[in-house]
Symmetry: C2
Subunit: 162 residues, 2 copies
DNA sequence: CGATAGAATGATATAACATAACAGTCAACG
DNA sequence: CGTTGACTGTTATGTTATATCATTCTATCG
């Protein structure tokens, strides 16, 4: 993999996400504890999604933590819609969209640099819902994830030499 | 189309799938070994997707096998497009569609009875591809999975009492 | 037929991801 | 204060997947 040109992970993005989290927790009377903040900060600072064990390793550099502690923080952040789980990676990534859209986004996961792009899916989801209603299925949660090559990586090696 | 009467583990469905596998392997000069046949038969006979360890347990009733052996059979069957992996379940299910369609199907996974329904997604995928091209992403593989209540289960307990 | 090369499987170990169970800590509130 | 509920610590275990190397099978060729 080539991680030279990482996007995100900037101080700007981290600060934005952290202050958003603070506001949200104040408003909803949730507790934005040091552990939760720390986990969210690590995710916001990473150019690619991190697994729970990745996070445990990073937090451990400062303070001993067991994986289960990280999983609890992740659960909180997922419930608060501050992060998403990337199922095909067993990993977690901060949410890119400030007030979160209603429809489940589509995640584009780059096999080359590992970055994840989150794109809204209102229209597709609407179209799909017709077909799904036809077969009588009542959806509760969705996973739309696509693996491939992101624009930046495609540009750098155009022929996509596997 | 009517998807209600899906693979419920009937001998009919199993036989169909197994003979399809045999034909396909003969045509492509692949080896449809006893282990691969056995794993496919177990999947075809199950009303819901099975994990590799589920499969190992079932095969073990007749003959001792290690999980890795099952994983190898699954890999073969996945490559041959005879089965699919249901990512949100870490489980495997036979493919319902005889000559497999080109687009990645959408899988509807029932949280109540565990069954999986495979539906084509040509239009959905087509719509998505426009947006994805806009951001310069080159897709290689896709996961579209929706969790919810299937028609049969919705019928049995209409109010969907959680 | 017997040698042999490649594919498949066996066997063991370990990695990677996730949860259970219970004890201790801390903050809020009356 | 003392109680209560939320959070975290600690240990153990469950679940899913892969690495590595030895052995067996199968097709092919001399
Ligand atoms: Zn989001
Ligand atoms: Zn990339
Ligand atoms: Zn299929
Ligand atoms: Zn059902």
């Amino acid at each position: 993999m080539n991680f030279e040109r990482r996007n995100t992970g900037s101080k700007r993005a981290s600060a934005t996400l952290l202050s958003r989290a603070e506001r949200l927790c104040r408003d909803k009377n949730l507790r934005f504890t040091p552990m939760r903040r720390r986990v969210l900060a690590e995710l916001a600072a990473s150019p690619e999604p991190l697994t729970a064990y990745d996070l445990a390793d990073r937090v451990r550099e400062e303070k001993r933590v067991a994986p289960v502690t990280v999983y609890r923080a992740l659960e909180f952040l997922l419930d608060a819609k501050l992060i998403h789980r990337i199922v095909i990676r067993n990993a977690y990534t901060p949410c890119d969209h400030a007030p979160h859209h209603d429809a489940t986004p589509v995640f584009l996961v780059c096999t080359h640099c590992g970055t994840v792009e989150e794109i809204p899916s209102e229209t597709f989801q609407h179209d799909l819902s017709g077909t799904i209603a036809e077969v009588g299925f009542r959806p509760k949660s969705r996973v739309f994830e696509i693996e491939g090559e992101c624009a930046r990586c495609a540009k750098r090696q155009p022929a996509s030499a596997i």
